[in-house]
Amino acid sequence: MSLVIEAAGFGVVTAGVVALAAVGFTLQFAITNIFNVAVGSQLTLAAFIAYALNRTGVSIWYAMIAAGLFTGVTSVLLNRMIFQPFLRRGTSFFGLVVVGIALLLIIQFSSQAIWGASFVSYQFNAGGVFKWGPLLLNRTSLILLGIAAGTMVAVHLLLTYTRFGKSMRATAADPELASSCGIRIQLVTDATWFLAGMLSGLGGVAFGMTLGAFSVSMGSTFLVIIVAAAILGGVGQAYGAMLGALVVGIATEETSLLVSSAYSQVAAFIILILVLVVRPEGILPGVARYRGIAT
């Protein structure tokens, strides 16, 4: 039993890492209506940029912030230079997924061309192990958990208590109405892409840290978990993504304990299939319903 609780502890840490990227992914979808499939390759790139910095002696935490900022800025550029021109040219949202795939291939294989396909790991001190009842977590995990929890609180405060958060929610609910109420859609969109990119960049580096060793193929693994968390929670819902991440994180860790570590990703898959069959709009269906995602 104590092993189960211990695995749940790891699960919460995984959940924190997943939640970072999943909240970014889902917020960005809610506001722009674009599924950014390239997010998996973007966070791989972030993880490798942090790796390059870390190798020159920069502390992993500073490298993480730098990679987050880099991914945020590139996300804004991707949107401004690729997605928006395609939208203006009349490409459907369906077609934009294909555009996203092309970007995924370009980013993923550019990273592979630069850093190769072999496994790398960060240099950092994992810190002492803290024991709290049956829970067993090292200092790095606690810091990652703190970053994730802090980010979630910050996103919550941003969305509920600030004027800007309100305009983001208004844009998500009805862009045209928001625009006619004087909300600067372009600014909100840019800020959203930046926030989403930054969160997924942080998530990518954090994922690299929890994995220990990672390669360019981590992007596709992580993409599945992010999508599973986002869809489970109800796509487009920030709180849903947090909830989904918690379920997926704990489920993957418990599966590695109770079944086999090889099957931990399969747990995410089973959750996803179950959700799609039973309730395709997810736990919190608001955005999925009015966007016509699932009827």
Binding site: G90, F94, F109, S110, A113, I273, P280, G292
Partner: protein, 338 residues
């Protein structure tokens, strides 16, 4: 440089990819389903053909001690037919997920996840299909019969066989697309509600397309595995699906000839063609990355310049009766209505 080997390799790769691309186009170009898990059908076909020729895993033929769950030694056309049946059944299963009336792009993401998960299952469960090392020493069909004993002679024979199968598939696809069934599929793509109102069972049509496309993908995998004699998860990463998509989008979705042109460009020129050039900087891993980046750039360019493809879908007769605004709509819905 062995030109005979080069030529047969390119022919077999292009034609098998073309068969798969036609299957994908049946789903994507003709019916408007964005199936990002297509490569798992190719893989299912290859694995099925492999275990149906390798023989029982506990038998004396298994000198390499490969692990797989079952096997048989069937005479030539049966492994290919078995592969098509398995591909069709898998298509029905995956198609059930697609019946949930999800929005196109959402469905696409779900399919992408299905593709990745199939990969994880095969990688995790080594006893199923030999995990990451995959199956090797798969016999080529008809090799022991007659005096075809491998080498370039057999290569030419096999590429001839592949081309014959490709022509048959192309003919069947052509007849299918011109038939009332083909029209019904295009109706599902253009306006599913309207197709339903006209009395078409759109759920059944979507399932049918999943099964047909799946079995074509499986046939392609089965033919390919008979030539390369090995199959492992490295051959069907989720990104491989997008090479097929690239062929369909660049060539022209909804047009059989267009897809053939696309398959030649992507698989003949970019993927196979450069393999026999002097390696860039002597680095084959870098060449591979550059191929993928080129494919990505080609998709972007073609989505920007010519989203309908090099040879667009032919405008059907009677379409002048359809309101001009509708006619502008591009085949598989890559463009919005304007």
């Amino acid at each position: 440089m062995n030109w005979g080997f080069f030529a047969t390799t390119v022919i077999i790769y292009v034609v098998t990819s073309l068969i798969a691309a036609w299957g994908l186009d049946l789903q994507f170009g003709s019916t408007g389903v964005l199936n990002f898990s297509f490569i798992i059908f190719v893989a299912a076909g290859a694995y099925t053909a492999a275990i149906l020729t390798l023989g029982s895993p506990s038998g004396p033929g298994n000198v390499a001690q490969q692990q797989y769950f079952a096997g048989a030694t069937l005479p030539f056309p049966l492994p290919w037919i078995g592969a098509m049946v398995v591909g069709g059944i898998l298509g029905l299963l995956v198609g059930l997920v697609a019946l949930k009336r999800l929005r196109g792009d959402y469905e696409a993401i779900v399919m992408l996840v299905v593709s990745l998960m199939a990969l994880y299952i095969v990688l995790s469960d080594v006893g199923f299909l030999n995990g990451a090392s995959g199956l090797a020493l798969i016999p080529s069909p008809l090799q022991s019969g007659g005096n075809l004993t491998g080498g370039t002679g057999y290569g030419w024979f096999y590429s001839g066989l592949t081309v014959v199968v490709g022509v048959i598939v192309g003919f069947v696809m052509h007849r299918l697309m011109e038939s009332p069934l083909g029209r019904a599929l295009r109706a599902v793509r253009e306006n599913e509600r309207a197709a339903e109102a006209m009395g078409r069972n759109t759920a059944a049509l979507r399932l049918l397309v999943f099964a047909l496309g799946g079995s074509l993908g499986a046939l392609s995998g089965a033919i390919l595995v008979g030539f390369i004699n090995a199959w492992s998860p490295g051959a069907w990463g989720f990104a491989e699906t997008f090479l097929l998509f690239a062929a369909v989008i660049v060539g022209g979705q909804g047009n059989l000839v267009g897809v053939a042109v696309g398959a030649f460009i992507i698989f003949g020129l970019i993927i196979q063609g450069v393999l026999f050039l002097p390696q860039i900087g002597g680095d084959s891993a870098l060449t591979e990355c550059l191929q993928w980046i080129t494919a990505g750039l080609l998709i972007l360019l073609s989505m920007w310049l010519r989203p309908q493809g090099i040879i667009p879908e032919r405008r059907r007769r009677l379409s002048r009766w359809i309101a001009p605004a509708r006619r502008k709509r591009n085949g598989s819905g890559l463009l919005r209505w304007r």
